[in-house]
Subunit: 351 residues, 4 copies
């Protein structure tokens, strides 16, 4: 629709503006430019360097703070933006001997360990010890504190649905009365209550359909190797299962792991959900809306909704991407679409 | 947490910023001021005046545009903001003889007639004729065009979940190949297929769990009178039923009607969902976070999430509020909270 | 599989039998004849005569009994059989001035009035007054008593899922401490709480997903006339809607009404659910597994699972069948199948 | 209600009987005695002896039959009865070199290996190899054939929901065109597709919400040991998880494993679901309606719905019961009840 406001109607438009009214036809005829989620990559080498710096900042010592470097999507032109409009992602370092104080919030969180081992999160009175490649879920409103009793730092990817929760103005946060919560359950209790996926105890403590569980790297990566069936777009891809509901990993987030075979290149497609990818193993590349983004272990990057994309690796080793998306929300609203696309011509690079 | 950045760490913070990184501890210690949804009212007298003006704008004649005056929440400081962060609301006028061209979009819409009768929306090949107080649903991705064959304008409240859909970057829009779609079903077909709520045909054309149906004012208001049981906060309140799922009116929107008895005043509460209210009958007032907002038939106003509120009327007649909220989305994310509150002291006014 | 037990193995088979063991191969090779649900009709003229007799039996006076004539399927060869294996059906007469005492049971019941008006069932403290053609639901474990304050008898079809409940050994029954329960709600309360299907109050008293509601004949039959779209097999057919769940009328029973146009004949099909039909208006016929069954208003007949059937009427008036089936249970077990079949040749008659 | 038919009404009752009608008041006043599910035990020692005999019956050689000894509940007084009214249970022997021909049926089946190893069931083109203590699911309508390529017999407990399916007259059975179906998938494919419970591939071949999967004994028993939390009635008890739905193991059957600690005795309760128990490890006893039933590994016994029961063991070793119940059906109908009871006095023995 081509439409231009005649000079004679300007006064009326100013009247509308004064009443906090937008005329719909103007927005339709001249859709405003809006900040747009950018495909973008945060490189591990640099993030690690900055994290190590943050890990020992004098001003933070003994404060109980989370030393988290929160990725800000540059496309959104918003100083408080997350990695995408719906999800935050941070590289968090837990310094040797450090405690990140206990609190809870309505935002749900996940942690994927990038480097180190032996740090643990206490959730619902249970210690979740984590090693490289492990994933731990922190459902909404569960008390949690972090502790690193080892002598080396532990670094993990720390992601939340906080932007969604903030979008709905439903963020609540509460500090625990003490620095740390008491440990009341044996290690591994929650994973045991679901027979690590296979058996089911009577689950009385289910939190909104999500349990605070840990998926070990060996189990998750091993499952990809064991299954082996290739998706045309995503290599061998599996979702971290929600054992309670049979649905997505969390009510707001879909968490997946995908393995690209050595020297493989998937087909292109696009879908209505945005994704935070994190390279968990090896190296490869993604082509996003015609731009090539090379990635290697530890890198984190963002795929906007409906951007055409394909993944591949030129390595003689396999490559594994961990990913988190807002798919459950898109589906709950009945808005999921997916479309296969022809192989893209590469016209530039990202990062 | 009180924390101030020491001068010695400034360089590091600038380094982070250059990498599109926000240090989490800064955001926690010094939470930034963000634009905040404002309680606000658009008065009918003024909206009607502006709508009548918009109805006959020379530049729009014969263009097939929607003459919709979209309410922009002043608190959000965003020139494209909707009435709330999640919902848009507009006063739309359909001029005598006018056709608003057929199209469809992934955003779902609802229409509540404020003035006039005899205009109709064609949806899925069926004419939905509307009169004052009637509500019509337009589910996601259903073709629809509007037509006013009468000699008087028809004005309705036109609301969409478009901001949510845009938030997820999942808005698709498509014009119909012709100005209008053909009418292939008898009037009243869809409402008849559900026995007006009581009986159920084999529903083959269900669109994402929502049917394009009309709720007549007499049925809806009559249902409030027939039921009569008072909620402590909201008078007699009922939701427009989704006959297909037994759940909310639409997957993204909860639509309700509430009747305040003459000279009544409800108790205060707050909840995590934002609401667009529209006064459908009579006059009354709402107290929102301590500020009194007087309203009368035709006015439209906004309640932010978690704002304490109570409704009442000093009139010897009853008053009826139609409302639309983002409750289904809040529930899908497991974020609904509600809390009774003590009666508020009124310390100011809104509007 | 053709298999005959050799004489040499007889002793072994006797050994098995003594241990309460059946050899599977014998049952497979020589499937035993089992009693089989018969298509069968109970004629209204005769049922009415017997009901009137039962209505004034001296031995029952003042006892608070239900004067119900329970139909026993002759095919099942079981003196306690219901109308089908899963459902019971009875013609019940409520004599003028009579009270059928209050009780409750885990079996769910429905009542469809055949003759008379003004009797009422009290359920959950509310009077449900019934007239000819009205349907009332009594969900599992709801207190109910019947009362006929008029001077003419009222006769209704009284059906339960009791055989299913008995099959699972889950029948519980409890007499109310008094003859009748107190009336605590206004007439029409429950139907009002669901806006007669269209609006929804906050339903605190929902009993297992089913409300004790009444569907008036004029509403139900009117819905068929209003909808008008013909199913190839069943004329215009609609299910009595469950407003709470969007699913079947009751968790165990699907209740439908179907209108056969004057001089119409539907196509044949079969499905895995058994049905109790009751002619609610006019006259017609059904062809069941090649046998013709003529029926007229008031008659009740049975269709076995997977029996081929077609319905028609030679009358210049329309005909209406009310029906009840075990479809929800069949679906819950994942066992529903349906198959269109060619028109049957009629080779005999039923009833 | 005490009521006796007066002689004067006898003729009327005979009239009713002739019309296939039961007067409800007679059934209420004089409830007929009905056959009733009996608690009963089939001893392993004897079953094994009979199975070995059946395994080599001359008349069955090369016929492709299933050599299954189907337990018949003596309480039901029905020559075709299953172990309970709703479930069948058999001891099936697969003779060395034998093939039980491929077929499928609408009844769902499960197999729990009692003795031997190396036999396999082919389902949906995949070999499921089974060892002692393993459980394999065969969902409704999945092709399956059994094969024992080892030189020793394999014996398993073979249970179906066939009585339920027969109750609804919804049993369909179909032989495969060949003796065996082709193997098209690698061993372990289906378990791999669900990451053995923890990860989830895109499941395109889900059969009515149930996958043909195997639960290894070591995984299942190990899960009990790993979890360790005691239920007051059932020791450490877990359900074999349905990874697809988060619900019961199968749409019609709940499958559980429970571990009784050495020298333990659980509290008494009763519930509305009937159970087939099979002793998978050790020895113990159950007290059912006051009668003591001692059991040891390999024994199979039956608990009627609503029978009071408690489990224990006097052994210094633990004992494990595998069980199968009709709980999902009871729940689907809204009929589940459970009640704690005082410890029973033992007044007799079963078996």
């Amino acid at each position: 629709m081509a439409w231009t406001m005649p000079e004679s109607e300007r006064a009326f438009h100013e009247e509308l503006d004064a009443e906090n009214i937008n005329p719909l036809w103007v927005m339709h005829a001249n859709p405003p430019e809006r900040p747009k989620l950018a495909p973008y990559v945060w490189r591990w080498e640099r993030m690690r360097e900055l994290a190590m710096h943050a890990g020992d900042l004098p001003s933070l010592r003994g404060q109980g703070f989370r030393r988290a470097l929160t990725m800000r999507n540059p496309g959104l032109k918003n100083p408080q933006a997350g990695a995408t409009k719906t999800m935050s992602a941070a590289v968090q370092i837990v310094w040797p001997g450090e405690i990140a104080e206990a609190h809870r919030h309505t935002a749900a969180a996940i942690r994927f360990v990038i480097e180190g081992e032996g740090a643990f999160t206490v959730q619902g009175g249970e210690r979740f010890r984590m090693e490289e490649g492990d994933l731990t879920l922190t459902p909404s409103w569960v008390w949690h504190d972090h502790n690193n009793p080892q002598d080396k730092p532990v670094i993990w990817l720390d992601c939340l649905d906080a932007p969604m929760v903030g979008y709905l103005d439903a963020m609540f946060q509460e500090p625990y009365p003490e620095d740390v919560q008491p440990v009341t359950k044996p290690n591994g209790y929650t994973n045991a209550a679901i027979g690590n996926g296979l058996m089911r105890a009577n689950l009385k403590d289910v939190v909104g359909g999500t349990l605070p569980i840990t998926y070990k790297w060996n189990d998750a990566y091993g499952a990809l190797l064991g299954y082996g069936e290739e998706d045309p777009h995503d290599g061998v891809v599996m979702e971290y299962a929600n054992p309670v509901t049979g649905g997505h990993s969390m009510p707001t987030l879909a968490l997946k792991l995908q393995r690209l075979a050595p020297n493989s290149h998937g087909e292109a497609h696009r879908h209505t959900s945005s994704v935070v990818y994190h390279a968990a193993k090896g190296e490869g590349y993604s082509v996003i809306d015609g731009k090539r983004l090379d990635w290697a272990k530890g890198d984190t990057f963002v795929l906007p909704s409906w951007a055409v994309h394909e993944h591949g690796t030129d390595s003689s080793d396999d490559a594994v991407l961990f990913s988190m998306s807002d798919l459950p929300l898109v589906e709950a609203m009945g808005l999921y679409r997916e479309e296969a696309r022809p192989r893209q011509e590469v016209t530039g690079a990202i990062g």
